[in-house]
Amino acid sequence: MTINERQDEVIEEFEMFEDWMDKYEYLISLGKELPLTEEAKKIEENIIKGCQSRVWLAADMNDSKIQFTADSDAIITKGIISLMIRVLTDSSPKEIMESELYFIDKVGLKEHLSPTRSNGLVSMVKQMKMYAIAYSSKV
């Protein structure tokens, strides 16, 4: 599946929700399901500091595709991270670099990517692309 196909899939899922409660309950469940990053990877180097919540992000490359693992101390942030990983992981560096993440806006979670929230998510998206740039030179 391409990144955009995955984004469209998430958008479709979110269309089922009737109100914010359903949506946030789903996000929270995603946050709880997201495999925890092993403590070994939760190091200072991998931390993306937000004012409100902390995010850890690590990337590996297998078969020319990038795998992301991430974690956060806030569960809603983690739920959104889970969606981002689902959309971006297992893609080539080129695909990630060229991707445009429109699904966040479409599913009504844009406010979480606003810089005023300062929850580390904006920096996380930047950092994901940075990893893609870094790995693209190794392909």
Partner: protein, 407 residues
């Protein structure tokens, strides 16, 4: 004086009747900024509609009208804080600006190598960083009064720190994070005994009571108008005349000069010496409306009302399983910080916002204090006189619902 009635008071604040996310707004982020009564909004509107002109410069009528209104506002602040002279009241951009003016202008002039500046563990970053910067520059030492588990200053430690090396004590009047009301008068007295000066950060105090600068004997007292129901972008730096006269200006520009030649500039007198450039005139003028408004209220009754809100909210919050209040000082303003075991503050903030409730989450610009309590951040509900017990109930119900979703 009119009897205090919270439902009548609420009508003075148009924003309080709006909805957020489809629910009536419950505004409990007064520690960040307060809402504005209609009279303040009208004053800004009226200035731009009728009187807009630059001040202290023109002979034309509008400039005179604007200057008079601006200086009138200064006098109102003077009386409100009980300053001896109106020129001891300097207009600034806000609390942070006030601290920076003193740390720079006073600090650069007075601090020598080996001198000491004392701050506290509960300071807002804006009363830490400016002192760190000037201490680095002047090779002075920064000392920190520790906080006990209840969130009170450890006075014994403070007394031990004081010596003839102490040149400045800079501390917060009411902690924005803990709500602790510090024994400022006693702290000032002790500092003066060793010849040190004291700067008080009154940012939170001004929402709860007028600071009496002469009774406190504060050397410098800083606050912003936006937390006391006035406009944003304007603040006050009170300083004793004899101290302000001695120190050189901090910024150069228009209004702060007497004569300028390329060889030498002579400075204007107080307060203009520290007010370079065109100030925030509309906000300055609307300050008068804010002071008039708050002085028209019955503050004895407001104090009772705010303490009732504090006690009621504290008791109700404590009923929530796993909830811990951070900051249980004996002397406390209507500010409550708390954490809930196993739940992140950010998540709670996001969910209760969906229910129309505005609270603050995070470290509240007091990271050293968060480290002291070994936490990343808190949720803070800060109450103003226009808040109600019913709003506390809405908060508690929302928190219970949010916790159920999150755990």
């Amino acid at each position: 004086m009119k009897k205090f009635n919270v439902n009548d008071i609420r009508k003075d604040f148009p924003i309080l009747s709006r909805e957020v996310n489809g629910k009536p707004l419950v505004y409990l982020d007064n520690g960040a900024t307060s809402q504005k009564p209609q009279v303040v909004i009208d004053a800004i509107n009226s200035y731009y509609s009728h009187d807009n002109a630059n001040i202290h410069r023109g002979v034309h009528t509008l400039s005179q009208v604007a200057t008079t209104a601006y200086e009138e506002a200064r006098k109102k602040i003077q009386h409100w804080i009980n300053a001896e002279l109106s020129e001891e009241v300097l207009f600034t951009k806000g609390t942070t600006d006030g601290v920076n003016i003193i740390s720079n202008a006073w600090g650069r002039f007075h601090l020598q190598k080996g001198d000491e500046v004392i701050i506290t563990e509960m300071e807002h970053h804006s009363n830490i960083v400016p002192w760190q910067m000037i201490c680095d520059e002047r090779q002075a030492k920064l000392k920190v009064i520790p906080v006990n588990d209840a969130g009170e200053l450890q006075m014994k430690e403070y007394k031990k720190m004081l010596s003839e090396k102490t040149k400045m004590v800079a501390l917060v009047h009411i902690s924005n994070t803990l709500g602790t009301i510090n024994p400022v008068k006693e702290i000032i007295k002790l500092a003066h005994e060793v010849g040190a000066k004291v700067l008080v950060d009154g940012a939170q105090q001004v929402a709860h009571a007028a600071p009496n600068v002469r009774d406190l004997d504060a050397d410098f007292y800083v606050f912003g108008l936006h937390k006391m129901f006035g406009p944003t972008g304007v603040g006050v730096l009170y300083g004793k005349k004899e101290l302000l006269d001695k120190i050189p200006p901090y910024q150069g520009g228009g209004d702060m000069i007497k004569t300028v030649t390329f060889e030498k500039t002579t400075y204007n007198e107080l307060p203009h010496k520290f007010e370079a450039g065109t100030p925030n005139i509309s906000a300055g003028i609307a300050t008068a409306a804010a002071v008039d408004y708050i002085t028209s209220l019955n503050w004895d009754e407001i104090h009772v009302h705010e303490q009732e809100l504090l006690n009621y909210a504290t008791a109700e919050l404590k009923k929530i399983k796993g909830l811990k209040i951070i900051g249980e000082a004996r002397e406390k303003a209507s500010v409550i910080s708390f954490i809930v075991e196993g739940v992140h503050a950010y998540d709670l903030g996001v969910i209760v916002d969906k229910m129309g409730i505005a609270v603050r989450t995070g470290h509240h610009c007091t990271q050293p204090l968060m480290n002291r309590f070994g936490i990343q951040g808190t949720i803070r509900a800060s109450f103003a006189f226009y808040n109600t017990k019913e709003e506390v109930d809405v908060l508690i119900a929302a928190l219970n619902r949010a916790i159920k979703m999150l755990v």
